[in-house]
Symmetry: C2
Subunit: 382 residues, 2 copies
């Protein structure tokens, strides 16, 4: 047995928990908080309860929302400058993966100096970060519990993966009520991102018994609750279950890392600035078809979860069954299925496969890939 | 849905991980560590690798082992004095629940002043504790991940339950190899303690979806691996699985709290200084018989785990099936089954039921109990 670590933040989970941001910041010693959030979240009304709870707790605050989806290095630099000018002593991220990743990246640059590029890779952060409190609003990224931050290198159009235990927030506040303002497409694609996290973490070569528990449970929750969550903005039971699925998938992949779906998706997303969840959703079945022979028993366990009452599942047919399940799920919830719908074309295969091969997430993929293999997956998904 | 929190320490899990104590202390900023361990652990040889790893990491250290099973308030006071005299800056607990609970209690008194009695109850600790690194060697107590410390009030012969998030260690180092020196009786009773933690946490009124996942998985692991672990000192697969079961049951009960088994067991253990695992093991089936009607669906889930291929399990027979399973398990592994074998008698029922009714763990028991109900359970278990 290999030795392994498992780390997670303190979790506060439940409807209305977004109103606990203020007291959570106070508990961590903060007096003046730097709130990182995006315009969509503000428009949806989720900044208000955060601000109110900060005021109620006697905190002052600054707001930074000057960044875009697939957040860029220069946006991080700007945020870090504003943070340092603000004399804030804690950072609160409110939103999807972009908001949370930017919040983390600002924390790095503001306390460790230099540029965000200096921290690409594993364990490059030397000085402690300010208290980090994250409030996810998409049930997708898992960044609120993870040791990852993904920032775009705008010059080279590559997503930089920053991995460090310092990036695990102090407190993750998960309020399923924030999910009611997501539209059905975002609900669908972020939900498939959760499924991708669960499956990639489970078959990762860095998986451990503790990540397996969370990964498998997240897959089960997605199988049972993603469809009803897409079907209704107000089905709170489904929202709660998807929030839990996202949390558990996040715990799994933060500690077990990911695989080829994310490696290829980072390459595509970095080059073409496409939404992360959509690209993952499209790639997932194709990568499973490729990866299947690397871990038939693990894929058998996944198939058993997806088909709880089916007889005759074996290591011969488990991969096909999983792929069929995902394709049906994609149809049911109206998820995108082809990269060409996002403007990608055959001639992009070369550069994407070159970048994907270099991505940090490729290291833990259970099956070896050459550049040609990645190209083939890309073309199948096109 | 109620709002809830979930907190756990950083985990390092695996054979040989006990040799990571030194570097873990350094990572937390320590220079001079206070090692709390008991004579049994020293005799078994597990202090040596801890000391070696501390030396290797350039740390100086002091050792405190002047305490007994069911550790006493005056032993904590002595340890706190030694800690303060030593100028140590971190505390390492190595051993079973007693060692870890004493290590935590020393940390409290040394940094918060007063007597350990001042901290009985919930959230009484105001000042931050020194870094805490815990190395369990029994796969039983779960104290290495919990927010509990149980210390005997020697004057009143009552176990004091101290609950605070501050008591969650910074790092729990779980090395299954330390389990090979346990004798078969200790393996059996600490294993049944794990089962008790899993079941009480799962049916607790403070259970949450996140504690449920860990509780149910710990029950499954005990069902499959406690017998082989008792059967062989060197079955490393079984040791690893029981170490994981103990960890997951600990995560569950630290966040969901416990129930009547622990409340009654604390009363008995405090009064008669009996081993905690043995008393829990005896009480468990009797309390399940009593608690069953409070949560038939939850007990059904437990029965489904214990009997994975049985048809016809329902909320009518699940309680009986669980009790029958535990009795057979007790027989298989040679666990004690009667309190009278420990010298208890009918006339003790009154005082035990009086103290048990006041125990903090009674609050989360799913079925209401009167003093008479507790007395009846005690007499059945006698």
């Amino acid at each position: 047995m290999k030795m392994y670590k498992f780390v997670m933040p303190e979790i506060i989970f439940g409807n209305g928990s977004i109103r606990r941001v203020g007291e959570s910041c106070v508990r961590l010693g903060a007096q003046n908080v730097f709130i990182v959030t995006d315009p969509g979240v503000i428009k949806a009304g989720w900044l208000e309860p955060v601000i109110e709870s900060c005021k109620h707790a006697g905190l002052t605050y600054s707001i930074f929302s000057d960044f875009t989806t697939n957040p860029k290095d220069y946006e991080v630099e700007k945020g870090a400058k504003e943070y340092m000018a603000s004399e804030c002593d804690a950072i609160v991220g409110v939103g999807g993966g972009s908001s949370i990743d930017v919040a983390k990246a600002i924390a790095i640059v503001a306390t460790n100096g230099g540029k965000i590029h200096d921290y690409e890779g594993v364990d490059k952060i030397k000085r402690p970060l300010p208290p980090l409190i994250m409030v996810p609003t998409t049930a997708g990224s898992g960044s609120e519990v993870s040791q990852f931050s993904i920032i775009l290198n705008s010059e080279h159009q590559i997503k930089m993966t920053i991995i460090s235990k310092s990036l695990i927030p102090d407190i993750a506040i998960i309020d399923p009520e924030t999910l009611v303002t997501k539209d059905r497409l975002l609900t669908a694609t972020t939900g498939l991102d959760v499924l991708t996290h669960g499956i990639e973490a489970y078959v990762s070569i860095a998986a451990t018994p503790l990540t397996d528990v969370h990964a498998l449970h997240s897959i089960k929750l997605v199988a049972n609750y993603l469809r009803p969550s897409v079907a209704s903005k107000t089905n709170m039971d489904a929202k709660e279950k998807m929030a839990m699925a996202s949390l558990q998938a996040g715990l799994a992949f933060s500690n077990a890392i990911l695989g080829a779906v994310h490696a290829i998706s980072h390459a595509i997303g970095g080059r073409f600035l496409l939404p992360h969840g959509d690209v993952n959703a499209i790639l997932l079945p194709h990568v499973i078809e490729y990866n299947y022979i690397s871990a038939p028993e693990k894929f058998l366990h996944i198939a058993e979860i997806l088909y709880p009452h089916k007889n005759g599942i074996s290591t011969v047919n488990a991969g096909d069954l999983i792929v069929a399940y995902i394709r049906k799920l994609q149809d049911d919830i109206g998820a995108p299925k082809r990269l060409r719908d996002f403007g990608l074309a055959e001639e992009d295969a070369d550069i994407i496969s070159r970048y994907a091969l270099e991505d940090a997430c490729m290291i833990t993929n259970p099956r070896d890939l050459t550049k040609e293999d990645i190209k083939a997956i890309f073309l199948q998904a096109l």
